[in-house]
Symmetry: C2
Subunit: 308 residues, 2 copies
């Protein structure tokens, strides 16, 4: 049996006439007669009664007509869905996120992607940097968001933004009134840092900056993530250095002040990572959304800078 024969059968059943059906199918009448005969031979069932005016369905033919329509429509659906999957419009995308990264940028990107590709089911996984890399290699995830990545041979990354450093202070602290805090002003001040876990991380960046500026860093606590760090500031444990994008988080008695007197490379990047040889349309689609987001971010930045 053959899809062609099924289509032919449906045409003949609908026209109740082989000649007319042949015209509709843009073939001549004899081959169509023959295909119907072959179908009947294969099924060993008479599908049509031949009359003087044409043909009419037997009861078995009637049943087969219903089935045929189901088959054809299922095939059509399969083609359409597969093509959509091929364009990345359908499927499942496993995305890894990490602690403070979910504060603003990642939700924005995911929201855009969901709008552009509503047929894609996004599944989020909380994973550390090392876990993300292992999960990528095992194909348990397709994309991961992270910061401060060391280059790897099998993994590509796209930088989304670079955060400047900011200081979280209690608003009753003397420095809290200043519009800008210089790094030197934090000399020997108690500082909460994060995260614990795989190196290089945000702590390493902060340490390097302090060291290069010749400022002594008094680490009172090392905590798991930015949220905990800022909570400790609120609790009076001292200062906390954060990437500027974490400053969307509001906690009682905590103020965020830009940090000055830093080298240009004192930034912490947010990137998304993915397997170098993953050419899946879903990933491509996702990266396209990321790039679009990035370019709009730059536009906006340069535009507001121009106005200043």
């Amino acid at each position: 049996m053959d899809i062609r024969q099924i289509r032919y059968f449906v045409a003949v059943a609908e026209e109740r006439n082989i000649g007319r059906a042949a015209k509709r199918l843009f073939i001549s009448q004899p081959p169509l007669s023959r295909q119907i005969q072959q179908l009947e031979d294969e099924l060993q069932v008479k599908l049509f009664e031949r009359t003087a005016k044409g043909v009419e369905l037997t009861s078995a033919g009637q049943l087969f007509l219903n089935e045929s329509r189901n088959i054809l429509s299922l095939i059509e659906q399969a083609q359409e869905r597969t093509q959509r999957a091929g364009k990345g419009q359908l499927g499942r995308l496993d995305v890894a996120i990490f602690g403070s990264g979910i504060l603003n940028t990642i939700p924005d990107i995911l929201k855009r992607f969901k709008t552009a590709y509503p047929g894609v089911n996004i599944v989020l996984h909380q994973m550390s940097k090392a876990e993300q890399i292992e999960a990528l290699r095992q194909k348990r995830i397709s994309v991961g968001f992270n910061r401060l990545l060391a280059p790897l041979p099998d993994i590509d990354s796209t930088m989304i933004l670079q955060d400047k450093l900011m200081v979280a202070v209690r608003d009753d602290h003397p420095l809290a009134t200043k519009p800008l805090i210089n790094l030197k002003e934090l000399d020997n001040e108690p500082i909460v840092v994060f995260p614990k876990g795989a190196r290089p991380n945000f702590v390493d960046l902060v340490s390097r900056v302090f060291q290069e500026a010749g400022v002594t860093m008094d680490i009172t606590q090392t905590v798991i993530d930015a949220v905990t760090g800022i909570a400790l500031v609120s609790g009076g444990f001292g200062f906390c250095l954060i990437p500027s994008s974490a400053s969307v988080l509001q906690l009682p008695g905590v103020k965020y002040i830009p940090l000055g007197g830093l080298p240009d490379n004192a930034t912490v990047d947010l990137s998304c990572i993915y397997l170098k040889d993953d050419h899946s349309p879903l990933l491509s689609a996702f990266l396209a959304v990321v790039h679009e987001y990035k370019s709009q971010l730059n536009h906006h930045t340069s535009f507001s800078a121009a106005r200043e």
Copy 2:
């Protein structure tokens, strides 16, 4: 797209290797590679990633694999169901019955058919003789049960049995004690006859028998069917002549006594009728059951006759 290509695709997806799949399909590797390529071209979707060890499904390919399995199973089901329909094991059979015919023979036949062809949905219609013939011609029914049929050019019939005549009498009537009533004993006695409706019918047979025997028939009532007729006997309206198969019906105060002194042709047949050019397997199957029933009936009759 082609069912062959779908089968090939599934084989390759399952083997994760074109060469192995080719062996399983009893073809050589190059044509299989080409068919997969053609499928991908047609769908404009990459279904496999080619690796050194074979191939592996893309996410679109994974989706198409699911769809393909659905399609193949639907096709298989369609073939099977159509073949069953072709053998008369599946479908719907519309059967017309009439008043007194449903008393014993028809239910027996229908029960046998339902047991032998449980997949067939039997739909019963109460119809008079004329209605049955019209419904047959319009294909609203496929079989009808009836009595005393005049031959028609487009309708065939199979006789199922021939009922002898019996008399229904009140049990307080003087004749009720006799084992056999002679026709002559009914001379000028009040008689209830049935049915009203299309001729020739049971009344005509009864009239002819009386006339040939030179017995005067005093018709007090003409009613619609045997049940009503017997009910009137119970109510004291007189005698009622019935086909013997109607004697299964028990009413208070009514006794059935065989009628003697009749010619051999004083019988009323029960037949089933159907369109001469209806070659549907459902009808054939039904008629086969009818014939089987008939032959068992004859066996039983001749056997019990031999014992007497």
